[in-house]
Every structure is written in C-alpha cells, then in structure tokens.
C-alpha cells in the first residue's frame, strides 16, 4: 500500500503519452493497424498473468498491472498499478483505455468487472488451478486472448516438458517426506497451508506429503497438532522482515520438537516464485524436490535455471 502511495502521480500520464507515441510510431512504421485478435492495450491482473505476458514478449502492450504482479520486478516499476486484484476500480481500469483486460480467476469485485464489460472492454478470465496442467492452460488461454497462440504454444510445450521432467524425477521418490508449509507466524503460532492452497499444490508436485491436508485454506495449527503431525521439513516464504531462518523458526517449541526441528530442515524461497503457478513453477518444483530429497540424482540437473532466486535462509 505504502509503495503505491509514494509513487508520483504523473507517471501514469507520462506512460500514457509514451505508450501513445510508441503506438503511433509502431503503426506508422509498419503501416498495419492491429485487429481485435491482437489487442494493443492490455491490462494484466494477477501475478502469473503478467509474468506470462512478459514471457510471451507482450510487455510493451501491457498498459496496467495489479499489485500482485511482482515478476518481473520491472513490471511494478514501469506500469501503472490498478490496485489489488480483488479490489479493482472500474474507473481506474477504464482510465487506461484497455482493449482487453486479462483477469486471473478470483479477481473482482464482480460489480467492477461487470461495469468494465458494459464499457465494451473485452474481459477475459484466466483460470488459476494450482497444478501443472493448470499452468499450461493458463499460458494457452493468455496466448489465445492476446493473439500470440504460437508463442504461447511454444512456451506451454516448454513448461510441459519441464513439468514432465520433474514428474519423472518424482517417480523415483521411494521415501516420501512430510512437509509443513508455514505462511506466517501468527503471534508465534504457525499459519499452515491446508488443501486447496497453492502451497499444497506445490508440495504435491514435489512428491511430498502436505501435513496440512486435514483442513482447507491457511489455518493456525496448535502446537500439539504440529508435534503429532511430525513434519520432516518446514517450508516458508523468504521475504523481508519474516526472519525465516532456522534459528528463529525452530525457536518455536512445537516446531523444534518435530523431526524437522531435530534436523533443522527449513526450506525457504521467494513466495511468488514458489506459489505463483507460472512459467517458472517447474524450477520451483525442482528446487523443492532437491531440498526435500537431496539424494535424488535426477533432480540436480533440473534445478539449473537462470530464474532461480537467491536461496535465502538455506
């Protein structure tokens, strides 16, 4: 929130002018005016949507993003921000004069989306399923929406191939581990990922068992339940101010009393890389697998990626 407030107001208008001149130059130099199939002004709502558009080379056509669009990091710096994906302002989005608005499933509020449609803006909802197939479908849907089917097919095939590679490695896992995903420490108590969460999906893809499978969403778990569940590994997001280092995390009495605590096994990674379910997800899965099963030989080759963020706390 604070970042948004601090941003100078004039950037939006500057960008509009810049975008407009770029468009004029583009149209002038090619002499071709784009049809509906290739919308020129895209508003991207949802981290994975923005990331995929950048990966498809459509960055210049993006005229607005939302606060969850954290990758690539330049996106939030370069593009006007329409706010949080679930709290969009119809007029704010309209002010960017988009040809098309790509919204990740779950965006809203519904009245704002309805107003956008009434304004004649093409609104495309991109499904968001936390599975490998879900990522592929996401890429294809975005490609179809912005007229980049070929590039999307290539990216989807690449992502599919990399997911298939981690799936193959997964088959060699003989001894599954039990994983506890901690979203945050809520006044000392871990907020644990249950079923239906992105974290649950990633843990499954990495061939491990989520011990939060008994409930849905993110819930605070009691000390005794954690000890009973006996996780082998704790996974957390690495971000500023969270202090996700083994010393702090295993200072928690319950966590220290688990196998994870005994082996001081804490895995951390950038939250949006880990939970975003975008093109970088196969690497994130491979990273988790390598952390979960250090003895698996196949996994090492998979984790080599230019996108890998710093392995904070590990």
């Amino acid at each position: 929130m604070i970042d948004i407030i601090a941003r100078p107001l004039s950037r939006r208008s500057l960008l509009q002018v810049a975008g407009l001149s770029a468009a004029i130059i583009a149209v002038g130099s090619t002499g071709v005016i784009a049809q509906d199939a290739s919308p020129k002004r895209i508003v991207a709502v949802g981290g994975a949507v923005t990331e995929i558009l950048y990966a498809l080379g459509a960055a210049e056509r993006i005229v607005g993003i939302d606060t969850t669009s954290l990758y690539p990091p330049s996106a939030l710096k370069d593009k006007p921000n329409v706010g949080y994906m679930r709290q969009l302002s119809a007029e704010g989005v309209l002010s960017l004069s988009p040809d098309i608005v790509l919204v990740s499933a779950g965006s809203g509020p519904p009245p704002a989306l309805k107003l956008l449609e009434e304004a004649g803006v093409r609104l495309v909802t991109i499904p968001d399923t936390p599975t490998a197939a879900g990522v592929v479908e996401k890429i294809r849907a975005i490609g179809r929406a912005v007229g980049l089917e070929d590039k999307a097919a290539a990216l989807a095939a690449d992502v599919e191939k990399r997911f298939a590679a981690v799936a193959k490695a997964r088959e060699t896992v003989s001894k599954p581990v039990k994983v506890l995903f901690v979203l945050a420490m809520q006044s000392g108590r871990p907020l644990v990922a249950g079923t239906g969460t992105a974290a649950d999906g990633m843990i499954a893809l990495a061939g491990a068992t989520n011990i939060g499978a008994g409930f849905s969403g993110y819930k605070a778990m009691t000390d005794e339940a954690i000890i009973t569940a006996a996780p082998d590994i704790v996974v957390m997001m690495a971000r500023e101010g969270l202090h996700a280092d083994p010393d702090t995390v295993f200072a928690n009495a319950a966590l220290s009393a688990t196998p994870a605590g005994a082996g001081r096994r804490l895995v951390t990674a950038d939250g949006h890389w880990l939970l975003g379910f975008g093109p970088r997800s196969p690497e994130a899965v491979a990273y988790l697998m390598q952390a979960f099963f250090p003895d698996l030989p196949q996994v090492r080759a998979l984790s080599a990626s230019e996108h890998l963020p710093a392995e904070a706390g590990k």
């Binding site: 948004i4 407030i5 941003r7 107001l9 939006r12 607005g64 606060t67 006007p80 921000n81 329409v82 706010g83 949080y84 679930r86 709290q87 302002s89 119809a90 007029e91 704010g92 989005v93 309209l94 002010s95 960017l96 779950g106 509020p109 009245p111 704002a112 309805k114 107003l115 009434e118 304004a119 004649g120 239906g196 969460t197 849905s216 969403g217 993110y218 819930k219 605070a220």
Partner: protein, 371 residues
C-alpha cells in the same frame, strides 16, 4: 459543548435577548448557505473528477445524453457510462451514506445526551458489520434456505440492519436503567459489544476462505468503490425514513436534552421517540455499512463541528449534519480515488485519518474544560 445563549448575553452586556437570537439566526443561515454550497461543490467535483479524465463540457454532455437518449459516438458512450454508471451512483451513495452516518451520530448523541455517542464508537456499526460479515462468510451455506435467497443483494443490507438494530437495542437496554441513561455504562457497554462483535468476526475470519478473508479486510475499511445503481436503490429504503423522521425528531431531541423525566412532563412521548430513533439509526447505519463498509468518525466529527458553529439546537443540527456529512464523505471519496489512481484507497483510511486526530483534540479540549 457550544456557546450557550447565556454567554452571548454576558458578552454584550446591555444587549437584548432578541438581538442575541437574531445574531444566532443569521449565523445559522450563513452556515446553512455555506453547507449547501459545499454539498453542491463536492457533488460537481465528484461527478467531474476520476481516473478517467473527462473535460467538464463532456461531463455535462454525458449527463444530457443520459436524460435524452443514445450517445453520439463511441467516445461519448464511454463518457456517459463512466458518468452515469460509475460516478453518478457513487456520488449519490456518498451523499446518502455521509448524511446517514452524520445524522445518526447527531441522533445518538441527542438520545443519549452524550457527545461521545456515535454509531461507530458505541458498537452499532460493529453490529451491522458483524451481521454483514456473517452473510459474506456463511452466506453460501445458509442463504439457499432463506426466503429471500432469490435476491442475494438484499440479504446483506437486511442482515446489516438487523445487526445494527439488535446492537442498538441491547446498548440502549444496558445503559438506560432506572429512567436515566448512564454515560459510563453506555460507553463501556459499547466497548463490550464492539469486543463481542470483534470476537465473532474473528471466528468468521478463521472460517473464511482466502477470498472471503480479503473481502472482509477491505470491506472493514469501507469504500464507495462498489457503488452501483443496485446499491443506491438498496440504501434508499433506509434513507427515506431517516429523511422523513428528521424534521420531527429535532424538537423531541431538544426536549429530551432537558432530561427524560422533564421531557415526559412536557408532554413528549419519550418511549416512542426513543424507539423511533433507535429504529431509524439502526436502519440507516445498517444500510450505510452494508453498502459502503465501515466508515468511521463521520458520525462523531460532523455533529461536533456543527455544535461549535451553530449550537446544539437539534432542529438545525440534524439537517446541518446531513449536509456536512454528505460533503465530508464525498470529499474523502474524491481523495480516495485520486491519490493512488488508477487504484483506490479504502475511504475508511481517509475518514479515520481526519477523524481520529480531531477526536483526540476534542477529548483534550473537553478535559481542559472540566479541569
């Protein structure tokens, strides 16, 4: 709180009652004229400014096409959509919510004869908010069994109204033992009710899924961002009784300010007045909370400012509160949508940012007066 007429006499020494009253009347007329201008100005700005920049000439053209028929071209069509379907309902909602909150603050302060009573502070908003939270989180589970399930958009305001009514009633019963409303009991009961609502809302937070959780969080800060014609038409049935009751309640609250027993001996149907005020407040606050979320401090800031300016006569205080509340909320909303455009700030942040320091100042000023 305000300058009582007595001081006016003392100030001008040899002045007469008539002269003092006349000055007061002139001042009131001036303040009213100012308030009407303020409401008109904020309404025009609210229609004219937003993330989509539309020059004034086209704003009026858009309003005109809305009345007369189809827009001339695609540009005009978009203008008229923004003006007629986004800004106009938003402005109307802001006017009604602001007026409702401010008038309800004044009504409660009059009813409890306490300048600290405010629907937000003493738990009425919490009650409405809690009921609305129940609908947000549990709605999917029990709505199919309710008769109004076919009209889901009315479930939220109805629930908010019932929640507000229940909390106002409980508050009143708790704080008005033996014919007098006790100020300390009122505030403590309000705090306790607020805490209870907080506890249950906490439980709902625990039960909610990610999306509902985020709805709850944003909604608890309030926003006019979701304004649609549907919302305007759902708050209207609650606003109309308030507007109708307003002229009649001024005299009654004035009498009530003498004390309940005294008012009763003046021939005032005290119990009926109390019931009417409670129902009207619950209805209006409930509808305001349901349509715009919890917006704090309008109910306490506005009546106080006006008491300082025009005195405590409820006949003028209530309508003046309606005007200033409407203008204040619209002004806050204009800021809310411009500061981080094309995104939006929750309006509750702005009203609280303005209201909380004012409230502190008020408390300190009162303390100085007492000591």
């Amino acid at each position: 709180m305000s300058t009582p007429p007595m001081r006016a006499f003392a100030d001008n020494g040899g002045g007469t009652l008539v002269a003092a009253l006349q000055r007061r009347r002139q001042r009131t007329a001036f303040v009213f004229a100012l308030l009407v201008l303020l409401v008109a100005a904020t309404s025009i700005v609210s229609l004219g400014l937003g993330a989509v920049s539309i020059p004034p000439s086209r704003t009026f053209a858009a309003l005109w096409t809305g009345l007369t028929g189809s827009p001339a071209d695609a540009n005009a069509a978009r203008d008229s959509l923004v003006i007629l379907n986004i800004r106009l309902p938003r402005t109307l909602l802001g006017l009604m919510v602001g007026a409702s909150l401010a008038v309800c603050g004044a009504l409660m302060q009059g009813l409890f004869r306490n300048p600290l009573a405010d629907p937000g502070l003493v738990g009425v908003s919490s009650g409405a908010a809690l009921a609305a939270a129940i609908v947000i989180v549990l709605g999917e589970r029990f709505l199919p069994y309710l008769p109004f399930a076919t009209l889901p958009f009315v479930a939220l305001p109805i629930a908010a109204f019932l929640g507000g009514l229940l909390f106002t009633y409980v508050l009143y019963v708790l704080s008005s033992g033996s014919g007098r409303t006790s100020v300390a009991t009122l505030l403590l009961a309000g705090v306790a009710l607020g805490a209870m609502a907080g506890a249950v809302t906490g439980l709902l937070t625990f039960l909610s899924n990610d999306q509902q959780l985020r709805d709850l969080t944003f909604w608890s800060l309030g926003s006019l961002g979701g304004a649609t014609w549907t919302k305007v038409t759902t708050i209207l049935p609650a606003f109309i009784p308030l507007a109708i009751a307003l002229p009649f309640l001024g005299r009654s609250l004035n009498a009530l300010s003498l004390g309940e027993a005294e008012a009763f001996h003046l021939g005032l149907p005290v119990e009926r007045i109390k019931r009417i005020v409670i129902v009207v407040v619950a209805l209006a606050v409930g509808a305001a909370v349901a349509s715009a979320g919890v917006i704090g401090f309008v109910g306490i800031v506005v009546p106080h400012l006006l008491r300082l300016a025009i005195g405590a006569n409820h006949k003028v205080l209530l309508p003046a509160s309606a005007l200033l509340g409407a203008a204040l909320l619209l002004a806050s909303d204009i800021l809310a949508r411009l500061i981080v455009s094309p995104a939006e700030l929750p309006i509750g942040i702005l009203t609280a940012a303005i209201g909380a320091p004012f409230f502190l100042w008020l408390l300190l000023a009162r303390r100085k007066m007492v000591t």
